[in-house]
């Protein structure tokens, strides 16, 4: 409990000092968040949603709230994490917005701290309205510290051609915590592609606790990519929550390469009829890495289609956890939902847990799910070898295919190429 108290204490100090000038509604939102976190405390493994993941390293660690970086990185420092230099981008270092590294677009692609005062009504309308906090202590804690993060707003019928890059970098080796808070709003029939990346300039055991809310209006489409390549000693806890309207499309891609311990809660609410969702994820782990993906697709309206694909590639003593919950609400007729989770174990010490959870309350629906956990398919190995491919190369090719299957669904060519390069490097190592 001590560290819950420590975090609450650091909240009190922060709220009465640097964050004291916030508008009342925002202060209320934060107070609600800290009260919730205080009440819930850290999750434990007796809780169903945390059966396979211990957050002890976070709960028992001591993390100070990050301070502005002593040295602001130069563009050369961040270039390895940029897909391209054109287009709009928002760069944050240790949670702090970096205007000199960013290319915002008026008040539509902008730091959240800025728009909280400059577009107060719009932010207030959406912020904290989608990501649940009732039983989510980390999300509640993030809400307590809501201040800085990315804000993207795409007006009705507008289309932003180039992908928008949101880059969150950890600068050093201090044991600090950041609470990035992102809000993405696409008005009706708008379209945008976004790449949200978490990475590190150092090798620290820091803790990122992020929440991203994505609202997609009727007929709008977002291609959202999330790349987690934190330091291998870092802790990464995140929530991504979407809510989509009638006839809208969400393609949500997530890739997890980094962090010692990562937990990503992904929630998608299909609130209007005719929505389409692709939830496409990859985790590629080695060493003692642990990554837990907890997904919830909520079919709250009829005639929606969701396709969920998660592949895990687990080497050495790593562990992957996947929970895929699909809820089909009463009246969500003609739902078409498909879920697959395939886990490739590259070592005898690697481990994967896969649990589908289907809750179906409508009768005229199509829901399928399947999951696999196992080593490389010996039939596939023989097939490749029988074509002249050597055994080592065959293994690498089949493993690569596991990752490539997920990357192949991404439309941003530069991102696909970069992730492909990272995957190849990891497999060659």
């Amino acid at each position: 409990m001590a560290h819950v108290e420590q975090l609450v204490g650091s909240y009190r100090a922060w709220a009465s000092n640097g964050a004291s000038r916030a508008p009342t509604w925002l202060k209320d939102l934060r107070e609600g968040g800290i009260a919730r976190f205080h009440g819930l405390g850290f999750p434990n493994m007796k809780q169903e949603a945390w059966r396979f993941t211990s957050v002890a390293p976070i709960a028992e660690g001591s993390f100070e709230l990050a301070k502005p970086p002593a040295r602001i990185p130069q563009i050369e420092d961040i270039r390895p994490f940029l897909l391209f230099e054109a287009g709009y981008r928002l760069v944050f270092v240790d949670g702090f917005f970096q205007p000199t590294l960013s290319t915002p677009f008026f008040d539509d692609v902008q730091s959240l701290a800025h728009v909280v005062t400059h577009r107060q009504d719009l932010v207030r309308q959406h912020l904290g309205k989608y990501a649940p906090t009732d039983d989510r202590p980390f999300s509640a804690l993030n809400t307590a510290f809501v201040n800085e993060g990315a804000f993207v707003h795409v007006p009705a019928k507008a289309m932003i051609a180039e992908p928008i890059q949101l880059l969150f970098l950890a600068s050093g080796d201090q044991q600090v915590v950041t609470h990035p808070r992102n809000l993405v709003v696409l008005e009706r029939e708008a379209r945008a592609s976004i790449v949200e990346t978490y990475a590190s300039l150092g090798t620290g055991a820091y803790w990122t606790n992020s929440v991203t809310e994505i609202v997609v209006g009727d007929g709008a489409r977002v291609d959202y990519h999330r790349v987690q390549r934190e330091s291998e000693r870092a802790y990464h806890v995140a929530t991504t929550q979407t809510r989509q309207g009638r006839d809208s499309t969400v393609h949500l891609h997530t890739v997890a390469f980094g962090a010692a311990l990562a937990r990503h809660d992904i929630g998608a609410v299909m609130a209007g009829p005719g929505g389409r969702l692709i939830l496409n994820g990859l985790y590629l782990l080695g060493g003692h890495q642990h990554a837990d993906h907890h997904t919830t697709i909520d079919h709250a309206a009829d005639h929606c289609e969701s396709h969920e694909y998660f592949n895990g590639v687990l080497d050495q003593k790593s562990r992957g956890v996947f929970t895929g919950r699909i809820i089909v609400r009463p009246g969500a007729q003609k739902t078409d939902s498909k879920q697959t989770n395939n886990n490739l174990l590259l070592s005898a010490d690697a481990h994967a847990d896969s649990q589908p959870q289907l809750e179906i309350y409508a009768d005229d629906v199509k829901c399928t799910h399947g999951s696999t956990v196992g080593p490389l398919d010996p039939r596939a190995l023989f097939y490749l070898r029988s074509r002249g491919v050597g055994e080592e190369e065959a293994r690498r090719l089949l493993t690569y295919g596991f990752a490539a299957e997920i990357l192949g669904r991404m439309d941003v060519v530069a991102l696909r190429a970069e992730l492909d390069r990272i995957v190849r490097d990891r497999l060659a190592a």
């Binding site: 002249g388 065959a394 490539a404």
Partner: protein, 257 residues
């Protein structure tokens, strides 16, 4: 026509899988340019013979030899056999997630080219090469950018095996029940392609349960495999005889022999 050199020579081959002896002494000699058919009832060991020649690790060779181009085939790894020119068209082609047919074929072709001391083909050169190959057999490239065999119909999978054969240009092509699961149009397409790929340097071993594929591909020699042994060999007319009379008379022959 002058007879070609012996390409494959199998002698007294006995093979077991999971402790059960499936092949009980097979003798077979295939010359360059020849097409041999192996027919036989289910469970006779036809597919075992095909797989063991390709080097499937599940099969244990108990006795006998198999020489390919005079070398000990059974001592070679599956990839070494492939690089030496042995090709197996699978009865049940395997799906490979995330790898496109094009990428797969290029990897395989480059493995063979490295073996032959030839330069590897980059993606662009490969596409040109592939285009020529497809043109030669009159096929389009619709299967090339899909993951290997994934979501393919039964017929598409078998066609894909024959496409690989055309690209990899083996010296010994073993077709394991390539005709099963094909409708008559697909069967004709596959047969026509095989006929185009026949040449004096290449031999075929066609494993089939039915005679119908042999209506379109005329073999030089037909063997009947029953209970792990070749019980009868003959010309193309033997296939017709089997079609008319079934396998029972031969199985009985095998029992008494």
């Amino acid at each position: 026509m002058a007879k070609g050199k012996v390409l494959l020579e199998v002698k007294g081959l006995r093979v077991a899988v999971a402790g059960n002896e499936i092949l009980k002494g097979v003798d077979l000699a295939i010359r360059e340019g020849e097409v041999h058919a192996i027919m036989g009832p289910n469970g006779s060991g036809k597919s075992t013979l095909a797989q063991v020649l390709a080097g499937h690790p599940a099969y244990a060779v108990l006795a006998g030899t198999a020489k390919y181009e005079g070398k000990d085939l059974l001592d070679m790894k599956p990839e070494e056999r492939a690089r030496a020119g042995v090709f197996l068209a699978f009865q049940y082609p395997v799906e490979i997630r995330g790898i496109t047919n094009s990428y797969f074929l290029r990897s395989a072709l480059n493995a063979l080219r490295r073996e032959r001391g030839e330069a590897e083909l980059d993606p662009i050169d490969f596409l040109q090469f592939l285009e020529q190959k497809l043109k030669a057999i009159g096929w389009d490239d619709t299967m090339m950018n899909r993951p290997v065999n994934e979501g393919f119909s039964g017929g598409e999978k078998k066609r894909n095996e024959i496409l690989q054969l055309a690209v990899l240009e083996p010296r010994l092509a073993i077709l394991d029940e390539t005709d099963s699961g094909l409708d008559i149009d697909a069967l004709k397409t596959v047969a026509e392609t095989v006929n185009k790929l026949r040449n004096p340097n290449r031999a075929f071993l066609i494993v089939t349960h039915y005679q119908r594929l042999l209506n379109y591909i005329t073999p030089d020699v037909v063997h009947v495999l029953a209970d792990g042994r070749i019980v009868k060999s003959g010309g193309p007319e033997l296939a017709h005889e089997l079609e008319a009379k079934g396998y029972d008379w031969l199985r009985d022959a095998a029992m008494v022999s």
